[in-house]
Chain length 101, copies 2
């Protein structure tokens, strides 16, 4: 029997614009997928991630506090607004998780 | 109209045992949810994360390369086997992403 579990409850907003984030996210699809589901074994799913977590991590990549050769380069030119918009976009994708038997 | 997007394709295995990982993951539910969907604004969803990504991040927390006060403490006592088992468990949770209009 499959257990169908609830969709993500909305996280507190960072004030980003999901539509603007969606446009910026075109640069992310090659690794993170068009719907935020990873297409690379070493890249995470971003769909439905809590906005606050997402924005914090992207700022950590930008500052170098969180180490990643790829993500540091990608995050470098992003403004705080860009980061909040991207966070709002990915948080707006709802996800459902299904546990294995 | 809602666009229903595909479930995660299985990532290459790290050789972990999802059943063992499920038991270990009982320590994770307070932040990451019983089904791997975050219940905290500053914690990520883990459901369906690619095994290789997941295991690498947990090793980074254990070594301190990825900074997190909470996760460093939690990852410290984990063996490589524990990490692979946890990676296998979370990867075994299938997810579906639904884009907003």
């Amino acid at each position: 029997m499959l257990a169908l579990c609830g969709a993500l409850a909305p996280a507190p907003a960072t004030g980003g614009d999901p539509s603007a984030g969606r446009r910026l996210a075109e640069a992310c699809v090659q690794c993170h997928g068009a719907n935020g589901i990873s297409v690379m074994p070493n890249a995470p799913n971003l769909a439905g991630q809590p906005e606050i977590y997402f924005a914090d991590q992207l700022r950590q990549f930008r500052s170098g506090r969180r180490a990643s050769e790829v993500m540091t380069v990608i995050a470098k030119p992003l403004s705080d607004r860009d980061i909040d918009d991207l966070a709002a976009w990915y948080a707006s994708i709802s996800i459902e998780a299904t546990l294995p038997r």
